[in-house]
């Protein structure tokens, strides 16, 4: 029972949306159909951009060394970092949530909080394709003034954010027992390991972590969990010690 409750809590958002639709279909079936039709456009938008963003993010994660990210987007990057962030956000495509996995990866590799905020914000409002559209409907003058003001605003509030939010406030590695370690930077919270070996793994803040244990580890089950992890985030340092 507690398990079901926990699961519900973890997916609260999804549950709310589903209930919203059920309510809608009961009260006004017509509007329910309309809502699903309205969602259609966004599904298309998501499918057009998200797969490629995930692949690009993973490839950059693999090939771009930490030093490079730190040099261009780290705390010491100053003006250069701000410019690079604006360019990255400005030439992007897709809605703001497309920027989330990309920015998480950059932060993990040493980009500063300030530059992350700049990328996210410029991704949202000052994208080039958007500007052309804006000129069409609202005129060049409107667009230019709004663009300049928005850039200034982003520079100011990204600075405020960096004063208020520290690197430690962003999610990172959860403390684990030394011998079996889950790299929580890599963990995507798929909870596969907790299903394979529920006695050993549990979900905490939507990331998997190792429970306190004092029983004999079932090596088969553990190996299954390690092999099953889609991001190979689980490392068993215990095994290495035995083989030595």
């Amino acid at each position: 029972m507690t398990n079901i409750l926990k699961k519900l809590k973890g997916n609260l958002f999804i549950v709310i949306v589903i209930f919203g639709y059920i309510a809608m279909f009961i009260i006004k079936p017509q509007m329910g159909v309309e809502a699903i039709k309205n969602s259609g456009y966004y599904i298309k938008e998501m499918l057009l951009i998200m797969p490629v963003i995930f692949v690009l993010t993973a490839l950059l994660d693999t090939w771009v060394p930490k030093q490079t990210i730190m040099k261009y987007l780290g705390k010491e990057s100053k003006t250069k970092g701000i410019v690079v962030s604006f360019v990255l956000g400005g030439i992007s495509a897709g809605p703001i949530y497309a920027a989330f996995p990309f920015c998480v990866m950059l932060h993990k590799k040493g980009a500063s909080v300030r530059n992350i905020v700049i990328i996210l914000s410029s991704w949202a409002v000052i994208k080039l394709p958007m500007l052309l559209n804006e000129v069409k409907f609202l005129g060049v003058r409107f667009m230019a003034i709004r663009w300049v003001l928005t850039v200034i605003a982003i520079i100011i509030f990204s600075w405020i954010t960096s004063k208020m939010v520290k690197d430690e406030d962003l999610p990172k590695e959860v403390e684990t027992k030394q011998d079996i370690v889950i790299n929580s930077d890599a963990c995507m919270g798929c909870s596969l390991c907790t299903k394979t070996y529920p006695e050993l793994f549990q979900m905490q803040n939507k990331k998997a972590c190792v429970k306190e244990y004092d029983f004999e580890i079932d090596c088969n089950k553990l190996q299954k969990a390690i092999d099953g992890c889609p991001v190979t985030a689980i490392t068993d340092y215990r095994v290495k010690e035995i083989t030595k």
Partner: protein, 160 residues
Amino acid sequence: MDIFTMAIWILTAGFCIYSFVKDKDKTKKSLKMAFGMGKGMLGSILSIVFLIGLILTILPPEQISEFVEKQNLYLATFVSAAFGTITLIPAFIAFPLVGTLVDAGVGIVPSVAFLTTLTMVGIVTFPLEEKEFGTKFAIVRNTLSFAFAIIIALVMGVII
């Protein structure tokens, strides 16, 4: 597909081929990682998408603009900014809509407030942002974006 989305696809495809030539194993691992990321975010993103559809049905943008047209400047600004925070509307719908608002005499200030919060602040995307960046980051970023959206709008009202 707009040209920028296309450019990202082409760039990524090229990168992928380059990566594959350079190191097959690393590329496979990256693709697996990308797949894992997608799986991890799929539930949240689908919820966001369907929630937007639901909100747009209950509160169609046309109805909001009708309401805003009749209000005084400050209320209109606040209502448009607030409406902008809930939903994400694609630019090609948002700009004509804002254009109509301006033409209808609503004024620059509410229109700009709407435009900015529309894209930068997301109540709908908040759960996802919180999961990826932590609660504090998500709250600070969204609050500041909202405040500055109003400031941008007010300054624009003075300039134009």
